[in-house]
Symmetry: D3
Subunit: 262 residues, 6 copies
Amino acid sequence: MRENKVKKIWAEGGAVINGWLGIPSSVSAENMARAGWDSLVIDMQHGLVDYSSAVPMLQAISTTDTVPMARVPWNLPDLMMKMLDAGAYGIVCPMINTRAQCEEFISNCRYAPKGRRSFGPTRAVWYAGADYAQHANDTLITMAMIETQEAMDNLDEILSTPGLDAIYVGPADLGLSLVGIPAADPTNETTRAAIKTIADACKRHKVAAGIHCYASPYAKEMISWGYQFVTLASDNALLATMAKATVGAMREGTVEATKGLY
Amino acid sequence: MRENKVKKIWAEGGAVINGWLGIPSSVSAENMARAGWDSLVIDMQHGLVDYSSAVPMLQAISTTDTVPMARVPWNLPDLMMKMLDAGAYGIVCPMINTRAQCEEFISNCRYAPKGRRSFGPTRAVWYAGADYAQHANDTLITMAMIETQEAMDNLDEILSTPGLDAIYVGPADLGLSLVGIPAADPTNETTRAAIKTIADACKRHKVAAGIHCYASPYAKEMISWGYQFVTLASDNALLATMAKATVGAMREGTVEATKGLY
Amino acid sequence: MRENKVKKIWAEGGAVINGWLGIPSSVSAENMARAGWDSLVIDMQHGLVDYSSAVPMLQAISTTDTVPMARVPWNLPDLMMKMLDAGAYGIVCPMINTRAQCEEFISNCRYAPKGRRSFGPTRAVWYAGADYAQHANDTLITMAMIETQEAMDNLDEILSTPGLDAIYVGPADLGLSLVGIPAADPTNETTRAAIKTIADACKRHKVAAGIHCYASPYAKEMISWGYQFVTLASDNALLATMAKATVGAMREGTVEATKGLY
Amino acid sequence: MRENKVKKIWAEGGAVINGWLGIPSSVSAENMARAGWDSLVIDMQHGLVDYSSAVPMLQAISTTDTVPMARVPWNLPDLMMKMLDAGAYGIVCPMINTRAQCEEFISNCRYAPKGRRSFGPTRAVWYAGADYAQHANDTLITMAMIETQEAMDNLDEILSTPGLDAIYVGPADLGLSLVGIPAADPTNETTRAAIKTIADACKRHKVAAGIHCYASPYAKEMISWGYQFVTLASDNALLATMAKATVGAMREGTVEATKGLY
Amino acid sequence: MRENKVKKIWAEGGAVINGWLGIPSSVSAENMARAGWDSLVIDMQHGLVDYSSAVPMLQAISTTDTVPMARVPWNLPDLMMKMLDAGAYGIVCPMINTRAQCEEFISNCRYAPKGRRSFGPTRAVWYAGADYAQHANDTLITMAMIETQEAMDNLDEILSTPGLDAIYVGPADLGLSLVGIPAADPTNETTRAAIKTIADACKRHKVAAGIHCYASPYAKEMISWGYQFVTLASDNALLATMAKATVGAMREGTVEATKGLY
Amino acid sequence: MRENKVKKIWAEGGAVINGWLGIPSSVSAENMARAGWDSLVIDMQHGLVDYSSAVPMLQAISTTDTVPMARVPWNLPDLMMKMLDAGAYGIVCPMINTRAQCEEFISNCRYAPKGRRSFGPTRAVWYAGADYAQHANDTLITMAMIETQEAMDNLDEILSTPGLDAIYVGPADLGLSLVGIPAADPTNETTRAAIKTIADACKRHKVAAGIHCYASPYAKEMISWGYQFVTLASDNALLATMAKATVGAMREGTVEATKGLY
């Protein structure tokens, strides 16, 4: 089975630089897949993507060695299993607030006897190889999102769930839950303290810690805190930022100044 | 009929800051439409876009007051007329090398007696208003691409074609044709001289001059030369640039340095 | 944040004239959005629409000031949250039969501390404005469908659920449940009595009452009963009705009579 | 090979009641296909339809015995042949103004030795039967659009083109060309006289006459003039008409009168 | 209402030859629908298909008299009801392990008073006829998948669920659960014994037995065991098998041998 | 630039085993790309594919080292250039009957000074590498279809066109033109003689010879005649053949024999 590079980087003690896909297009996905990210997560929760666009996006990513993953919109078995069958090498599941929710999530991603994932890896075999059935349980990544006060309260229970590979912090929802502020790259001390707490707990439980960031300085700080999987913005955010910066550069004085010159 | 803001900016002597769409998605199109561009050209020639994706892209742009235009892949009547019927407010036509080609192009974009455009502006009426038929010929923009030695040789004949609103310089093809170098934002003197020649000729013929640029300093220089329509890169280029810059910022020392720390 | 016109009409004591979209096309959606409806509901339950077609339909509606809403297929969090993130200004949720179901529905549509909606309003911010996070809970509409005997039995409990803006009567399912007849615009007295009961209960609870109608006389009667949100047929029904009427008008005598004349 | 019902109706001296499809959806296409039309034309010229949506639309029509046809955007061989291979039973070609154009059109629709249509009727065989190759030339309909003064000038030459089954009048373009008015169901005498002239010429040449109409009284008049193929509006027009009428019926007094009552 | 041929074959004591669709295309679906299968199941679990591709696939199947069915990804009400509304004549539901799960599944597929299916059979009426509401409960097939040890333990309870028409054995998941081997056409004795047990139990309960097979000899054996619904491979498997066989036939000696000859 | 394996095989004197794609799906395309073909041609002429489905198909093929090519529907510049920009490594152009047509075809596929291809290889650079501009003219394959008597008459003129890499025989159209029989794998002596003539002429002109075949024995014979590029059937044909064979195997005796046994 094709190796999961994300797991390899983790095993070597490195941090994964992850990209985020919310534009429902295989073209933007291939564009992103060639930008040097270690992995890409197709965001089927807050991105504008559903299964019908995610499959060609997985194919587009598969033209490179970037690791393809997906965030599903909720802890429900249908889409998780479909995305794994389509070749995703990891699932990010939002709103894991209790041990029971985490166990159900993992069960959906693992074949018996470790879980209840149904067998039928149609495209996954194409991407991963003919020995997929034997190695899938050990290769595919499960990432549970920690993003509420309730999850903080149940942190150790969640982190000790057998089969959990990693967690993923959603800072906006976490801040919303803790202090009522859904900010990216939070500066609020309460939220930052929680983010630190999570990193430390992950180390104790030997679970990889991941976090959604916006800017690279923040992401680097998170790596220095022990996070081994950092996301930088998203395709939509990168595009909007660059487009606005470009227009802004043009608007500075130039346009008004030239009016009437022609 | 809804006013064409591009024509208004030209009438006021200003320069249009134009964006370029090559990702076949209404989501990236709406993202770009909110970035402040005066107009957006859907690139159906070198972009990965065809009619089936262009229609929702036009709709996405129409949620804003950014002017929607399209570049067609060739000087053929079918797609030009379809894009105008779908609500495009201007057509950029590649490879206009002769007066006859320019006349045919313009004829396809104008109703009788000025041209042979067939009547049936299905979505155009939704976007532009019920009086579309009366004002379309005067509102919709025709932009002929000047991008070969042959076009340079026929420049005055092309520019004097009745009904031609503007030209659009394709520097890559122009450089390829003149000096064998398909560069963006060309620095080659021969190509630059041609670009200057075109701007001067446009002034003489009272035809607006447009040009495809990559970076804002170059675009500003072009405006100083008299260009009144400058394109900055494309959605694909903006996304790739920002993604690579972001990954690059993360790779600088950080990742390697942290390997083995966890 | 962009105002929700449906709420405004309700606040003024008016009735919302609502259209219904079951054709999975952004073209028919834009067509309908220009017909004068106050709001349009994308029907993801019985319409032939899923998320991949709903996003361009939302964009098409957003070219006008018609309020975009969506009916989801079931009381599950995934699609509700996705549609809100995509810019829907209200969610119609079928088969709310108990207070607990209603509370879960509303929780999915509200940010903490009022609910568990996850934060990430990607397109919603484009449509609604940058202050979406602050005002979303007060702007977005929750409409619970009352359409079974069980819901009638729990009517007051359901209507008193905090955060419930409106209910929506599904007369076909209600008739099926009450008297075994899934009719549109029901004439059956038992069903009509229930519809009246619901309107009266809504007034007591200060919850807006909505109902799915077929023909305008029935819808007007419903308004006279106190309903403030009436739907007329659907795009599929309007198209089929008009097409059959047109063909019928042609078939009347004409065709047979002319056979053999040429 | 499956019989072409349009040809059968013509042979019996009857008039074909034809519907028109401009919404790019297989759902609206199937809806229309069940409304009783003898045939349906997928409008790839002024409709919002291209090949990728036309194929599922052909499949949707094929669930009924309505005859599927297509109007292509221009007299070019690529799309005509593709639509025939996809199972269209007739091609309407716009802007046939000369005998040479008509000959080229027909050549694209006929196998050697009658034309240059390339062989590969992939889906056509599924729809029509295994003996398609033998009967296609005699079964598939060619309809040339007469819609300019130039076409009127060349009418007899066009109508005598071998292999031409029918013509189709485009009244909007014809009116635009003749008197500068692109009206549906034209009342202008010059245009009406031309429409009459065409019908009479078709009888002389034993070519079926078709015309694009809007309302049924006009279509019936055209049948009385000898037209054997009349189109009534389009899916987009039928939907818009019915939607606006429905909203209008609701707005009449009702809404305003009830404001403030609740 | 259009008859369900699958039920008819069962009533006559015959076995249904079923095909399986995992390619998300209406073209491959129509291709398969013309190959002689009694019925086709659109696989929305392990196939690469979701609702947006399934609707045109249902339309494509409806051009023939092959019975259209669907396998949903999980026992959730949303998609089941949507597929029935879109015209599926049966639902295959995976992972039915308990009586309660089976009852919920069936409830989702039946109108009141037999279930909680919501009323709105938009396309189903087009396919099945105007009297759909009266006959749907008796015409549409419910097939519960038996594929775990837990289901084997609860076999009689599951099979005696009122309204259950048939079961469907998933041999890969069953083998995975029973003996840890997810094989198609299992030869393992434990799994075979379970498959036999299921067939015998189905006879006792007068429930039709179905099974997913790969090769025809195995399927024939299953028919001899009493299975009345056998699936052969899938479109993806058929295509891959034939493509590899064809390439293999070409590679045998030929290519290498001819190298250097030209 | 990524090497073109088809050219390499030709240079080594081998024959290319080519597959053919007519199903408009990236899933069937990836399935085929993993079956061992040296190259795959996306058939945009007689296949049910257009540009919007071809782009994801190219991406799907690019997950393997199978060489991606495309057949365009006609000798027109627009789609050829778009497909090359999207990463096709060769263009098959139908109906090349004269030297002038061949020159125009090749001009569309080559950058100046060898042709008029416009510069903008958006996805091609992703697939082929950053040095695409320098090597494209020498790497991308031009294949002109020889399929009429007229082409036979002009064979030497066509084959000596500078820049022509290969020809591709369309036996169905060739047979239709020569003897009125559009057969695959023709057995007719006149057609076979022409096919032989073409192979011999290709050797003289050092142009690779390709041919569309159906069955492997015929393809092997063609290789023995000197053809270095043979296509075997198509995805649609492979699927239909295998599906019908499978159903046929099941129908043999089994089904009828078991009726009434249950």
